[in-house]
């Protein structure tokens, strides 16, 4: 666990250094040295906060592993595929909103959906939350532990949440055949239901 944290820290340093090299167009010794000093400074400044969250997350993951046997390492190639897929979803989503906005009758039917997922850790849930905001028809309103509250603009059944296709894509970042990811779905369609 300690070794994992060290690897994490070195990775952050490398990312910051690459970021610096991309920003600064000057590749002489003096500027690179300033970059190393800056990256060390920033890494050192964020070290304690990151350690706090790292161990908290680790405990959560151990619990998840004990409970559900869900692997917690991201599969990098799948992640690349996921980014391309997500871009396509953003295009579809924007076209859908454009259709809703530009057609004179405005075919919208808003509803709130509450559902639970069995994703392994916080970062997976955050990936899912932001993806829900970017994909067609839905935005994340609240995320509390396992429970998502989602606002859907059009008909919910078309949005890929109820059948679990979007959460399934996120779960597939971690596991090849995730099975059922979504459960306990509630749909609110009017003020009386709330």
């Amino acid at each position: 666990m300690k070794r994992a944290f060290t690897v994490h820290t070195v990775l952050q340093f490398i990312f910051l250094m690459v970021f610096w090299l991309l920003l600064s167009g000057h590749y002489d010794l003096f500027h690179i040295l300033m970059g190393v000093v800056s990256a060390l400074l920033v890494t050192a400044m964020n070290l304690r906060l990151r350690r706090f969250h790292f161990y908290r997350e680790e405990i959560q993951q151990v619990e998840a592993r004990l409970k559900r046997q869900f692997p917690v390492t991201l599969r990098p190639l799948r992640f690349l595929y996921y980014i391309v897929w997500l871009f396509w979803q953003i295009v579809v989503a924007s076209l859908q909103v454009a259709y809703a906005v530009l057609s004179p009758r405005m075919p919208i039917d808003p509803s709130l959906v509450i559902f639970k997922t069995r994703l392994p850790n916080t970062s997976a849930r955050v990936i899912l939350g932001n993806s829900i905001t970017l994909t067609p028809g839905t935005i994340t309103v609240q995320l509390r532990d396992d429970e998502f509250l989602v606002h859907a603009l059009m008909d919910v059944s078309a949005s890929g949440i109820l059948d679990g296709s979007l959460p399934g894509q996120v779960a597939r970042l971690y596991e090849k055949t995730p099975g059922q990811v979504v459960g306990n779905t509630t749909i609110i369609r009017s003020k009386r239901d709330m």
Binding site: S24, H26, N46, L49
Partner: protein, 145 residues
Amino acid sequence: MKTHRSNPIVSLVSRMVSPFIMMFALYVIFHGHYSPGGGFQGGTLIAAAIILVRLSEGSDTAQLQFSRSWGTPLGSLGVLIYFGTGLAAVFMGGRFLDYAALHLAHHASMSRSYGILLVEIGVGLAVTAILVSIYDNLLEGEADA
């Protein structure tokens, strides 16, 4: 009583983005003579990155990143660097903030460049520390906003 209710999405993304904003701010400070920016702008961006974590994590957890007690000493250190550079120039026979008199390098122009860099670092440090401590002092009475 107001308590900090954490929103995991905002919290994680803020923690992820904050070091990169700091790195960008340091770039702004160190490349002040090629691109827009300098000590003040960079210092403001660092302070913004620190305040972002304070906002999303709650002030108590964010103390791990930049402690409340560092504000005054670091601010004083920044002013000291700025003033010390100026005074050193006076003692070495120039005028106040006359970087060429510092003899940091062989050429007067290089010496001026390094002198300006020192002053920028001082200004950046002072601005960062003072802005963060202003934020902390504004929250003095709150439980944990």
